[in-house]
Amino acid sequence: MQIKLRNPKDVMKLSKLGCFHQSKLSFLRSFLKEFKNWNYNRDLFNLDENGYGHAVYSFNKNSRTYSLICFGNKIDDKERSDRVIATKWDAAFALYDGIPSKKDIERLALNVPKQEVGRLSYKELTLSRANKSLRVFNHVIESLSNGKQPDLEKLYKVGYLYRTTAVYGSGKFGLADRFRIKNREEIFGPFRLEMMLVYLVRQFTFDQVNHISKLKNPKKAVELDRKICRNLGIGNSTGLGMAPFIVNHPTLLNNWIEARENALASIRKIKNVKNEDFILFKSTLLKFKENLTLWNTESEFQRKKIQGLILDLKKIIHYLDIKDQLADNYLFNEIYIWSEGNLGDECIELIVSIMMEPYDEIVEPLILKMSSDEEKYFDIPCDRTVHELRNILESNYNEILRIDFKKKENNQNFWFISKNKEEPRLSNRHLETGSELEQPLAIARDIKKLYENISNQKNSMKIGKFLSENNELRHIVRRAFIIEKFPYSEIQDNTIGCKLMPIDMLRLKLSFFGAVKFDPRSDKWLRITMFQGAPLPDELESFNDQWIYNTIN
């Protein structure tokens, strides 16, 4: 049976991308699978009665060691901010390549808590910081030190003890460049070291509350129940900083989406779906539905989506109850086609994710294709012709070419880098100053500009010649030749229009990380949870691969 990949013009719409859910392809899940046979250790734990000090955790196998160095810091409540403008955090972390010496820890103690204004070295791989969730942190300590487990309703409503507010890697602030480590098999999947950092931070948060509680009341204190720990993750607050990434890394974006699309197509092509595979799919869907009550948000935008999802889940479960009794060929294809005709994007994309659950043999080879050697596609093929370029634009961007950028609402916003924080921002060009320093993230507008320009050029003109007179369009010519090879490399939407929801861009990326419980706090930033339900580091050798759907109660 022939199943085509879904059309990039549909998949790459921001409203669609903003409905993506985590899946077996997600980086935090593939990280756990990769590292399940590594030795985990808590090498050093040097915290005082308030949880301030430092600790070291590591994963090692054969001659390779990765060590997380954690620094617990004292800050005033009023200094605590999840925004990138903050300068102090409750804890700061660096993932070190190898076993850190005392000197390394001393050096890092001077730099890691300072984050962006500190300096790291090529021996450090990732950098992060996190703040306590004031809603639950003190409650947990209070309870544990009095010999009780915390109020689960209160705890699970939040879902974590700490929230990270940024995780940096790939050469930022002096960290190791990607090229130094890219050939290590264990980190072949994207963002694997960032995932490792977040995962080990999660363990630090449990150890820290246990430690503080114990010292507070040595006779009465109890440890946080392991089952409760498992049901807690790490929170994350993410703003616009993440949005340009998916525009600036087109081949990487393509490889993530293409892996997802290939997985879906392969599953739809299965003629005889085994009963146990169908049961796993359906039971996972039911577990997701059960946990949906824990997806809390005050965002009207997200609430509406969740309400729609609840209704759609009822519909699909009813449909599957009937389907259950049929022995159809190409069962998952039928379910997918039915979903497209009857459900909203939020539920369709959930179903795409859950369909992958029974199929390790399909998903795992795809995970290995989710990185990208971006340098390979940087050079522009200057011996191609304007005619070929025009064909690429017409066949890959035809909807974008219909946008009228002379209309104010289609050209409303501009992306810029804040001088204060060196972070991306979005603003209204008609109301604010600074649009002359716009970042090259208005791809749709620039594609249209390029198309209009080449319509006046000779078909036979070589791109090299065209560029010698039109180098202001060079960045967009490069992209056009990338999309020719990588059909999912481009967001098929206007990233500067008045209807833009930047959080759709964030959700796309975060879903590939494996984040859940998207909780938009505005149209520009959101909170999420990672690793909730995940096995603890000393349980990695054998764990249920569907842990992310485990029922939390």
Binding site: F378, D383, G464, N471, E472, R478
Partner: protein, 203 residues
């Protein structure tokens, strides 16, 4: 120490601040990173170029010819480099090129290095008395090992090298014979039994 990623980003942004298009700024970012990776002073030379950019007049070049002379102001290394890169598939047919009076010529070098990869040929570049062998953008072999900023070059000669062996047939034969000593001489019996395929393929 700055990471190469930081070098790329800062060079790209600085180029944009000078007024280069985003596309060219991207090229410059990659190039300065490349120079630094190859152990050449990309940042030093680029910084020197940036500091005189607005004061000093540079000549732009659109179509590159076999001989390129600028008697008044020096050629801009960036536009010369970009156009060299974009036109290299045509330029290689000229076998060798000459540029007279190029400003900050080290900034021109990475464009030529990348061009070497695009056309799949090594390129020999002579910058006054400094020599560079550009090996498919995988490495640069040079006699230029000091930290100096080169703010101008009188003459740059570029030669596209033909892909050919760097050794004699005899030298190759010697190694080939030596390598054969790792093989086993097959007896008649082994010829019949050790091969995986059938002895006749006519069935």
């Amino acid at each position: 120490m700055k990471s190469f990623s930081e070098i790329d980003t800062i060079s790209k942004r600085a180029s944009r601040a000078l007024g280069y298009s985003w596309g060219i700024s991207e090229e410059i970012g990659k190039n300065i990173r490349l120079l630094e990776m190859f152990g050449l002073n990309g940042i030093k030379n680029f910084n020197a170029y940036c500091s005189v950019f607005k004061k000093r007049k540079f000549q732009n070049i659109a179509l590159i010819a076999k001989k390129n002379y600028s008697k008044t102001s020096p050629f801009c290394p960036i536009t010369t480099g970009v156009n060299f890169l974009d036109q290299v598939t045509i330029l290689e047919e000229l076998t060798d090129l000459e540029f007279q009076n190029v400003g900050f010529p080290l900034l021109f070098l990475p464009f030529v290095s990348r061009a070497s990869e695009i056309i799949g040929k090594k390129i020999f570049l002579k910058l006054d008395n400094r020599e560079f062998l550009l090996n498919f953008n995988q490495s640069i072999f040079t006699n230029f090992l000091n930290n100096e900023i080169i703010d101008n070059s009188k003459i740059i000669n570029i030669k596209f090298l033909t892909n050919k062996d760097s050794f004699t047939d005899n030298e190759w034969k010697n190694l080939l014979n030596l390598s054969h000593e790792t093989f086993v001489d097959e007896s008649e019996e082994l010829k019949k039994s050790a091969a995986g395929a059938g002895l006749t393929d006519n069935d």
